[in-house]
Amino acid sequence: MNLTLNIWRQANPTAAGAMHQYHVQDISEDMSFLEMLDVLNEQLNEQGEDPVAFDHDCREGICGSCDLMIDGQAHGPEVTTTCQLHMRSFKDGQEITIEPWRASAFPVIKDLIVDRSAFDRIIQAGGYVSVNTGAAPDAHATPVPQADALKAFNVATCIGCGACVAACPNGSASLFMGAKITHLGRLPQGQPERDERVVNMVAQHDHEGFGGCTNIGECTAACPKEIPLDVISQLNRDLRTAIRNGH
Protein backbone atom coordinates (compact mmCIF):
# COMPACT_ATOMS: atom_id res chain seq x y z
CA MET A 1 0.00 0.00 0.00
CA ASN A 2 1.01 3.62 -0.49
CA LEU A 3 0.55 6.14 2.25
CA THR A 4 0.84 9.85 2.92
CA LEU A 5 2.30 10.72 6.30
CA ASN A 6 1.98 14.02 8.11
CA ILE A 7 4.65 13.98 10.81
CA TRP A 8 5.59 16.48 13.47
CA ARG A 9 9.23 17.50 13.02
CA GLN A 10 11.02 19.45 15.71
CA ALA A 11 14.83 19.67 15.75
CA ASN A 12 15.27 20.12 19.49
CA PRO A 13 13.35 21.06 22.64
CA THR A 14 13.48 24.79 21.97
CA ALA A 15 13.03 24.82 18.19
CA ALA A 16 9.66 25.55 16.68
CA GLY A 17 8.17 22.42 15.17
CA ALA A 18 5.94 21.93 12.19
CA MET A 19 4.10 19.20 10.34
CA HIS A 20 5.88 17.75 7.31
CA GLN A 21 4.44 15.56 4.65
CA TYR A 22 6.08 12.37 3.37
CA HIS A 23 5.07 9.57 1.04
CA VAL A 24 5.91 5.90 1.44
CA GLN A 25 5.32 3.23 -1.17
CA ASP A 26 4.93 -0.54 -1.21
CA ILE A 27 4.14 -0.93 2.43
CA SER A 28 3.16 -4.49 3.33
CA GLU A 29 0.17 -4.94 5.56
CA ASP A 30 2.20 -7.38 7.68
CA MET A 31 4.54 -4.60 8.74
CA SER A 32 4.17 -3.07 12.13
CA PHE A 33 3.58 0.67 12.22
CA LEU A 34 7.14 1.23 13.41
CA GLU A 35 8.54 -0.93 10.61
CA MET A 36 6.67 1.33 8.22
CA LEU A 37 8.49 4.26 9.83
CA ASP A 38 11.77 2.31 9.47
CA VAL A 39 11.09 2.22 5.73
CA LEU A 40 10.49 5.96 5.73
CA ASN A 41 13.71 6.57 7.65
CA GLU A 42 15.78 4.41 5.32
CA GLN A 43 14.29 6.43 2.47
CA LEU A 44 15.07 9.75 4.18
CA ASN A 45 18.62 8.60 4.91
CA GLU A 46 19.13 7.88 1.22
CA GLN A 47 17.79 11.29 0.30
CA GLY A 48 20.12 12.93 2.79
CA GLU A 49 17.29 14.10 5.02
CA ASP A 50 17.41 13.66 8.79
CA PRO A 51 15.42 10.53 9.73
CA VAL A 52 12.38 10.92 11.97
CA ALA A 53 13.26 10.33 15.63
CA PHE A 54 10.78 8.23 17.58
CA ASP A 55 11.02 6.20 20.78
CA HIS A 56 10.76 2.43 20.56
CA ASP A 57 12.56 -0.50 22.08
CA CYS A 58 11.10 -3.94 22.75
CA ARG A 59 8.65 -3.83 19.84
CA GLU A 60 6.56 -6.45 21.56
CA GLY A 61 4.22 -4.26 23.51
CA ILE A 62 5.69 -4.42 26.98
CA CYS A 63 8.48 -1.87 27.53
CA GLY A 64 6.26 1.17 27.08
CA SER A 65 8.77 3.13 24.99
CA CYS A 66 6.68 3.71 21.90
CA ASP A 67 4.36 6.64 22.11
CA LEU A 68 2.85 7.97 18.92
CA MET A 69 -0.35 9.92 18.51
CA ILE A 70 -1.74 8.49 15.28
CA ASP A 71 -4.66 10.32 13.69
CA GLY A 72 -5.55 11.78 17.04
CA GLN A 73 -5.53 8.48 18.89
CA ALA A 74 -2.84 7.44 21.33
CA HIS A 75 -1.13 4.34 19.85
CA GLY A 76 -3.49 4.46 16.88
CA PRO A 77 -6.84 2.89 16.12
CA GLU A 78 -6.39 -0.44 17.94
CA VAL A 79 -6.16 -1.13 21.66
CA THR A 80 -2.46 -1.90 21.70
CA THR A 81 0.92 -0.22 21.71
CA THR A 82 2.21 1.52 18.59
CA CYS A 83 4.76 -1.25 18.07
CA GLN A 84 2.04 -3.89 17.96
CA LEU A 85 -0.12 -1.91 15.59
CA HIS A 86 0.09 -3.40 12.11
CA MET A 87 -0.44 -1.79 8.76
CA ARG A 88 -3.41 -3.99 8.05
CA SER A 89 -5.32 -1.56 10.26
CA PHE A 90 -4.87 1.09 7.54
CA LYS A 91 -6.06 1.43 3.97
CA ASP A 92 -4.12 1.96 0.78
CA GLY A 93 -3.88 5.64 -0.04
CA GLN A 94 -4.67 6.73 3.48
CA GLU A 95 -3.28 9.93 4.93
CA ILE A 96 -1.96 9.45 8.47
CA THR A 97 -1.09 12.18 10.94
CA ILE A 98 1.59 11.36 13.51
CA GLU A 99 2.24 13.62 16.47
CA PRO A 100 4.12 13.34 19.75
CA TRP A 101 2.32 13.04 23.10
CA ARG A 102 1.23 16.57 23.97
CA ALA A 103 1.63 17.55 27.60
CA SER A 104 3.66 20.22 29.31
CA ALA A 105 4.91 17.52 31.69
CA PHE A 106 6.15 15.59 28.63
CA PRO A 107 8.25 18.16 26.76
CA VAL A 108 9.33 17.27 23.23
CA ILE A 109 13.02 16.40 22.91
CA LYS A 110 13.07 15.83 19.18
CA ASP A 111 10.43 15.08 16.53
CA LEU A 112 8.18 12.47 18.10
CA ILE A 113 10.29 11.85 21.22
CA VAL A 114 9.12 13.29 24.51
CA ASP A 115 10.61 13.31 27.99
CA ARG A 116 8.50 11.17 30.31
CA SER A 117 10.76 11.36 33.36
CA ALA A 118 7.87 12.96 35.26
CA PHE A 119 6.49 9.44 35.63
CA ASP A 120 9.69 8.31 37.32
CA ARG A 121 9.45 11.21 39.75
CA ILE A 122 5.87 10.29 40.62
CA ILE A 123 7.08 6.78 41.46
CA GLN A 124 9.95 8.27 43.48
CA ALA A 125 7.37 10.12 45.55
CA GLY A 126 5.99 6.88 46.93
CA GLY A 127 5.28 4.21 44.32
CA TYR A 128 7.10 1.46 46.17
CA VAL A 129 7.16 -0.67 49.29
CA SER A 130 10.02 0.24 51.61
CA VAL A 131 11.77 -3.06 52.08
CA ASN A 132 15.53 -3.33 51.92
CA THR A 133 17.14 -6.27 50.20
CA GLY A 134 17.51 -9.16 52.59
CA ALA A 135 14.93 -7.84 55.02
CA ALA A 136 12.04 -9.86 53.63
CA PRO A 137 10.17 -12.53 55.57
CA ASP A 138 9.43 -15.86 53.91
CA ALA A 139 7.24 -15.43 50.86
CA HIS A 140 4.53 -17.59 52.42
CA ALA A 141 4.46 -15.66 55.69
CA THR A 142 1.50 -13.58 54.51
CA PRO A 143 -1.09 -15.29 52.33
CA VAL A 144 -2.83 -12.94 49.93
CA PRO A 145 -6.41 -13.69 48.85
CA GLN A 146 -6.36 -14.74 45.23
CA ALA A 147 -8.83 -12.02 44.25
CA ASP A 148 -6.56 -9.32 45.68
CA ALA A 149 -3.49 -10.78 43.99
CA LEU A 150 -5.36 -10.89 40.71
CA LYS A 151 -6.64 -7.35 40.99
CA ALA A 152 -3.18 -6.12 41.94
CA PHE A 153 -1.70 -7.93 38.97
CA ASN A 154 -4.28 -6.62 36.54
CA VAL A 155 -3.43 -3.03 37.31
CA ALA A 156 0.29 -3.68 37.79
CA THR A 157 0.44 -4.43 34.06
CA CYS A 158 0.74 -0.67 33.42
CA ILE A 159 3.71 -0.09 31.13
CA GLY A 160 4.14 3.62 31.88
CA CYS A 161 3.82 4.62 28.24
CA GLY A 162 1.87 7.79 28.94
CA ALA A 163 -1.00 7.12 26.54
CA CYS A 164 -3.42 7.99 29.34
CA VAL A 165 -1.93 11.46 29.61
CA ALA A 166 -1.80 11.86 25.85
CA ALA A 167 -5.45 10.94 25.42
CA CYS A 168 -6.80 12.84 28.42
CA PRO A 169 -8.39 16.14 27.41
CA ASN A 170 -7.12 17.48 30.75
CA GLY A 171 -3.59 16.09 30.38
CA SER A 172 -3.97 14.22 33.65
CA ALA A 173 -1.87 11.23 34.74
CA SER A 174 -4.48 9.93 37.16
CA LEU A 175 -4.81 6.56 35.48
CA PHE A 176 -1.06 5.94 35.69
CA MET A 177 -1.00 7.01 39.31
CA GLY A 178 -4.18 5.16 40.20
CA ALA A 179 -2.81 1.95 38.75
CA LYS A 180 0.21 2.03 41.06
CA ILE A 181 -1.84 3.03 44.09
CA THR A 182 -4.34 0.25 43.43
CA HIS A 183 -1.60 -2.30 42.77
CA LEU A 184 0.16 -1.67 46.07
CA GLY A 185 -3.02 -0.83 47.97
CA ARG A 186 -4.54 -4.22 47.20
CA LEU A 187 -1.64 -6.12 48.75
CA PRO A 188 -0.87 -6.53 52.44
CA GLN A 189 2.72 -5.44 51.74
CA GLY A 190 1.49 -2.04 50.57
CA GLN A 191 -0.57 -1.17 53.65
CA PRO A 192 1.94 0.50 56.02
CA GLU A 193 2.74 3.29 53.56
CA ARG A 194 -0.66 3.52 51.93
CA ASP A 195 -1.69 6.96 53.18
CA GLU A 196 1.65 8.62 52.67
CA ARG A 197 1.98 7.06 49.24
CA VAL A 198 -1.19 8.54 47.80
CA VAL A 199 -0.65 11.97 49.31
CA ASN A 200 2.93 12.25 48.07
CA MET A 201 2.27 10.84 44.65
CA VAL A 202 -0.67 13.17 44.05
CA ALA A 203 1.41 16.14 45.21
CA GLN A 204 4.18 15.20 42.81
CA HIS A 205 1.68 14.64 39.99
CA ASP A 206 0.29 18.13 40.45
CA HIS A 207 3.75 19.60 40.81
CA GLU A 208 4.80 18.10 37.49
CA GLY A 209 2.05 20.05 35.78
CA PHE A 210 -0.35 17.26 34.89
CA GLY A 211 -3.99 18.28 34.71
CA GLY A 212 -6.77 17.29 37.09
CA CYS A 213 -9.06 14.36 36.42
CA THR A 214 -12.67 15.03 35.43
CA ASN A 215 -13.50 11.36 34.86
CA ILE A 216 -13.96 11.66 31.12
CA GLY A 217 -12.59 8.18 30.49
CA GLU A 218 -10.46 8.71 27.38
CA CYS A 219 -7.44 7.41 29.30
CA THR A 220 -8.82 3.96 29.82
CA ALA A 221 -9.81 3.64 26.17
CA ALA A 222 -6.30 4.61 25.07
CA CYS A 223 -4.56 2.36 27.59
CA PRO A 224 -2.92 -0.52 25.74
CA LYS A 225 -3.13 -2.61 28.89
CA GLU A 226 -6.80 -1.75 29.45
CA ILE A 227 -6.33 -0.44 32.99
CA PRO A 228 -9.88 0.27 34.16
CA LEU A 229 -11.19 3.61 35.33
CA ASP A 230 -11.87 2.27 38.81
CA VAL A 231 -8.21 2.74 39.74
CA ILE A 232 -8.92 6.47 39.73
CA SER A 233 -11.84 5.89 42.06
CA GLN A 234 -9.51 3.92 44.31
CA LEU A 235 -6.96 6.71 44.15
CA ASN A 236 -9.59 9.23 45.22
CA ARG A 237 -10.84 7.07 48.02
CA ASP A 238 -7.32 6.46 49.30
CA LEU A 239 -6.65 10.16 49.18
CA ARG A 240 -9.82 10.90 51.12
CA THR A 241 -8.89 8.29 53.74
CA ALA A 242 -5.39 9.69 54.02
CA ILE A 243 -6.67 13.21 54.51
CA ARG A 244 -9.12 11.99 57.14
CA ASN A 245 -6.20 10.27 58.85
CA GLY A 246 -4.48 13.61 59.16
CA HIS A 247 -2.12 13.55 56.17
Binding site: D71, E99, P169, G171, F210, G211, G217
Partner: protein, 210 residues
Protein backbone atom coordinates in the same frame (compact mmCIF):
# COMPACT_ATOMS: atom_id res chain seq x y z
CA UNK B 1 -16.15 19.84 42.80
CA UNK B 2 -17.86 16.57 43.63
CA UNK B 3 -19.16 17.70 47.02
CA UNK B 4 -20.53 21.02 45.78
CA UNK B 5 -21.96 19.17 42.78
CA UNK B 6 -23.82 16.82 45.08
CA UNK B 7 -25.33 19.83 46.88
CA UNK B 8 -26.68 21.01 43.54
CA UNK B 9 -28.05 17.62 42.67
CA UNK B 10 -29.97 17.70 45.94
CA UNK B 11 -31.13 21.23 45.25
CA UNK B 12 -32.36 20.65 41.71
CA UNK B 13 -34.24 17.54 42.80
CA UNK B 14 -36.06 19.51 45.51
CA UNK B 15 -36.60 22.50 43.23
CA UNK B 16 -38.03 20.32 40.50
CA UNK B 17 -40.39 18.70 43.00
CA UNK B 18 -41.57 22.14 44.08
CA UNK B 19 -42.20 23.23 40.51
CA UNK B 20 -44.51 20.33 39.97
CA UNK B 21 -46.87 22.04 42.44
CA UNK B 22 -47.86 24.12 39.42
CA UNK B 23 -49.99 21.20 38.34
CA UNK B 24 -51.96 21.64 41.61
CA UNK B 25 -53.09 25.08 40.47
CA UNK B 26 -52.38 28.66 41.46
CA UNK B 27 -53.24 28.28 45.13
CA UNK B 28 -51.16 25.24 45.70
CA UNK B 29 -48.16 26.74 43.92
CA UNK B 30 -48.28 30.10 45.69
CA UNK B 31 -48.81 28.38 49.01
CA UNK B 32 -45.69 26.38 48.40
CA UNK B 33 -43.77 29.56 47.53
CA UNK B 34 -45.02 31.16 50.72
CA UNK B 35 -44.32 28.06 52.75
CA UNK B 36 -40.66 28.26 51.73
CA UNK B 37 -40.53 31.59 53.52
CA UNK B 38 -42.33 30.59 56.65
CA UNK B 39 -40.80 27.21 57.17
CA UNK B 40 -38.98 26.94 60.48
CA UNK B 41 -40.94 29.77 62.13
CA UNK B 42 -40.96 30.77 64.86
CA UNK B 43 -37.59 29.17 65.55
CA UNK B 44 -36.23 31.07 62.58
CA UNK B 45 -37.29 34.53 61.41
CA UNK B 46 -39.23 34.86 58.19
CA UNK B 47 -37.27 33.49 55.22
CA UNK B 48 -34.67 32.27 57.70
CA UNK B 49 -34.30 28.79 56.37
CA UNK B 50 -34.54 30.08 52.85
CA UNK B 51 -31.57 32.32 53.47
CA UNK B 52 -29.62 29.55 55.11
CA UNK B 53 -30.24 27.44 52.05
CA UNK B 54 -29.44 30.34 49.78
CA UNK B 55 -26.15 30.98 51.55
CA UNK B 56 -25.34 27.30 51.35
CA UNK B 57 -26.08 27.30 47.65
CA UNK B 58 -24.05 30.43 47.06
CA UNK B 59 -21.12 28.89 48.91
CA UNK B 60 -21.48 25.70 46.86
CA UNK B 61 -21.66 27.77 43.70
CA UNK B 62 -18.49 29.63 44.56
CA UNK B 63 -16.68 26.39 45.32
CA UNK B 64 -18.03 24.69 42.22
CA UNK B 65 -17.16 27.50 39.84
CA UNK B 66 -13.78 28.16 41.43
CA UNK B 67 -12.87 24.46 41.20
CA UNK B 68 -14.08 24.37 37.63
CA UNK B 69 -11.91 27.27 36.63
CA UNK B 70 -8.94 25.86 38.52
CA UNK B 71 -9.33 22.55 36.68
CA UNK B 72 -9.82 24.38 33.42
CA UNK B 73 -6.65 26.36 33.92
CA UNK B 74 -4.70 23.25 34.92
CA UNK B 75 -5.94 21.45 31.86
CA UNK B 76 -4.96 24.21 29.49
CA UNK B 77 -1.57 24.58 31.20
CA UNK B 78 -1.09 20.82 30.99
CA UNK B 79 -1.48 20.86 27.23
CA UNK B 80 -0.26 24.15 25.81
CA UNK B 81 0.21 22.71 22.31
CA UNK B 82 -2.95 21.17 20.93
CA UNK B 83 -3.15 18.16 18.66
CA UNK B 84 -3.61 18.76 14.94
CA UNK B 85 -5.98 15.85 14.82
CA UNK B 86 -7.94 14.83 17.88
CA UNK B 87 -10.29 11.91 18.03
CA UNK B 88 -12.39 10.88 20.98
CA UNK B 89 -13.22 7.27 21.37
CA UNK B 90 -14.60 6.63 24.79
CA UNK B 91 -15.97 9.81 26.27
CA UNK B 92 -19.59 10.87 26.39
CA UNK B 93 -20.53 14.19 24.84
CA UNK B 94 -21.66 15.29 28.29
CA UNK B 95 -18.24 14.64 29.83
CA UNK B 96 -16.55 16.75 27.20
CA UNK B 97 -18.99 19.64 27.49
CA UNK B 98 -18.92 20.10 31.25
CA UNK B 99 -17.16 23.44 31.01
CA UNK B 100 -19.16 25.16 28.27
CA UNK B 101 -22.28 23.42 29.48
CA UNK B 102 -21.55 24.69 32.97
CA UNK B 103 -21.13 28.23 31.68
CA UNK B 104 -24.43 27.94 29.82
CA UNK B 105 -26.13 26.87 33.01
CA UNK B 106 -24.47 29.72 34.89
CA UNK B 107 -25.70 32.28 32.34
CA UNK B 108 -29.15 30.78 32.50
CA UNK B 109 -29.08 30.91 36.27
CA UNK B 110 -28.51 34.65 36.18
CA UNK B 111 -31.54 35.17 33.96
CA UNK B 112 -33.59 32.68 35.94
CA UNK B 113 -32.94 34.56 39.18
CA UNK B 114 -33.71 37.89 37.53
CA UNK B 115 -36.86 36.36 36.11
CA UNK B 116 -38.29 34.74 39.20
CA UNK B 117 -36.41 35.83 42.25
CA UNK B 118 -34.33 38.96 42.48
CA UNK B 119 -36.03 41.37 40.07
CA UNK B 120 -39.07 39.35 39.08
CA UNK B 121 -39.10 40.41 35.44
CA UNK B 122 -42.31 39.55 33.72
CA UNK B 123 -41.39 39.32 30.04
CA UNK B 124 -45.06 39.56 29.10
CA UNK B 125 -45.31 42.79 31.12
CA UNK B 126 -47.90 41.40 33.53
CA UNK B 127 -48.11 41.03 37.28
CA UNK B 128 -44.84 40.29 39.15
CA UNK B 129 -45.73 39.58 42.76
CA UNK B 130 -47.88 36.53 42.10
CA UNK B 131 -45.39 33.72 41.55
CA UNK B 132 -47.87 31.53 39.75
CA UNK B 133 -48.96 34.28 37.37
CA UNK B 134 -45.39 35.27 36.72
CA UNK B 135 -44.61 31.70 35.76
CA UNK B 136 -47.61 31.29 33.49
CA UNK B 137 -46.94 34.63 31.78
CA UNK B 138 -43.32 33.68 31.20
CA UNK B 139 -43.93 30.26 29.72
CA UNK B 140 -46.81 31.40 27.59
CA UNK B 141 -44.12 33.01 25.45
CA UNK B 142 -42.78 30.29 23.12
CA UNK B 143 -39.28 31.73 23.05
CA UNK B 144 -39.05 31.86 26.85
CA UNK B 145 -40.06 28.21 27.00
CA UNK B 146 -37.48 27.47 24.37
CA UNK B 147 -34.73 29.17 26.40
CA UNK B 148 -35.74 27.18 29.44
CA UNK B 149 -35.79 23.94 27.47
CA UNK B 150 -32.33 24.58 26.06
CA UNK B 151 -31.09 25.28 29.56
CA UNK B 152 -32.65 22.04 30.76
CA UNK B 153 -30.87 20.12 28.02
CA UNK B 154 -27.60 21.64 29.20
CA UNK B 155 -28.49 20.79 32.78
CA UNK B 156 -29.34 17.22 31.80
CA UNK B 157 -25.98 16.75 30.18
CA UNK B 158 -24.19 18.36 33.09
CA UNK B 159 -25.99 16.10 35.54
CA UNK B 160 -25.46 13.04 33.42
CA UNK B 161 -21.71 13.23 33.66
CA UNK B 162 -21.62 15.18 36.92
CA UNK B 163 -23.45 12.56 38.93
CA UNK B 164 -21.19 9.78 37.72
CA UNK B 165 -18.11 11.91 38.06
CA UNK B 166 -18.95 12.84 41.64
CA UNK B 167 -19.31 9.17 42.54
CA UNK B 168 -15.99 8.46 40.88
CA UNK B 169 -14.21 11.36 42.54
CA UNK B 170 -15.54 10.39 45.92
CA UNK B 171 -14.22 6.88 45.38
CA UNK B 172 -17.50 4.99 45.33
CA UNK B 173 -16.95 3.26 42.01
CA UNK B 174 -14.27 0.67 42.50
CA UNK B 175 -15.95 -2.21 40.77
CA UNK B 176 -17.43 -2.65 37.34
CA UNK B 177 -20.87 -2.99 38.90
CA UNK B 178 -20.48 0.12 41.01
CA UNK B 179 -19.32 2.05 37.98
CA UNK B 180 -22.36 0.91 35.97
CA UNK B 181 -24.61 1.92 38.84
CA UNK B 182 -23.03 5.36 38.96
CA UNK B 183 -23.49 5.74 35.21
CA UNK B 184 -27.11 4.70 35.58
CA UNK B 185 -27.57 7.17 38.41
CA UNK B 186 -26.29 9.85 36.05
CA UNK B 187 -28.96 8.98 33.51
CA UNK B 188 -31.72 8.81 36.10
CA UNK B 189 -30.86 12.14 37.72
CA UNK B 190 -30.51 13.81 34.33
CA UNK B 191 -33.80 12.53 32.95
CA UNK B 192 -35.80 13.02 36.14
CA UNK B 193 -34.56 16.53 36.86
CA UNK B 194 -34.49 17.95 33.35
CA UNK B 195 -37.67 16.10 32.41
CA UNK B 196 -39.42 17.20 35.56
CA UNK B 197 -38.41 20.82 35.08
CA UNK B 198 -39.48 20.78 31.45
CA UNK B 199 -43.01 19.63 32.18
CA UNK B 200 -44.20 22.91 33.63
CA UNK B 201 -43.05 25.21 30.77
CA UNK B 202 -44.32 22.77 28.16
CA UNK B 203 -47.70 22.31 29.79
CA UNK B 204 -47.98 26.04 30.25
CA UNK B 205 -47.15 26.74 26.63
CA UNK B 206 -49.73 24.26 25.47
CA UNK B 207 -52.32 25.72 27.80
CA UNK B 208 -52.75 22.88 30.28
CA UNK B 209 -51.50 25.16 33.04
CA UNK B 210 -52.99 28.62 32.91
Amino acid sequence: MAASGLVFIGFVLAHMYGNLKAFGGEESFNEYAEHLRTIGEPLLPESGLLWILRLGLIAALVVHVASAFALWKRASDARPVKYQVAKRRNSSLSSRTMRWGGLTILAFLVWHLLNFSIVKINPAGGETNNPYQLMVDTFDLWWMTLIYLVAMAALAMHLHHGTFSAMQTLGFTQTVAARSRARLAGWVVAVVVAGGFSLVPLFTLFGVIE
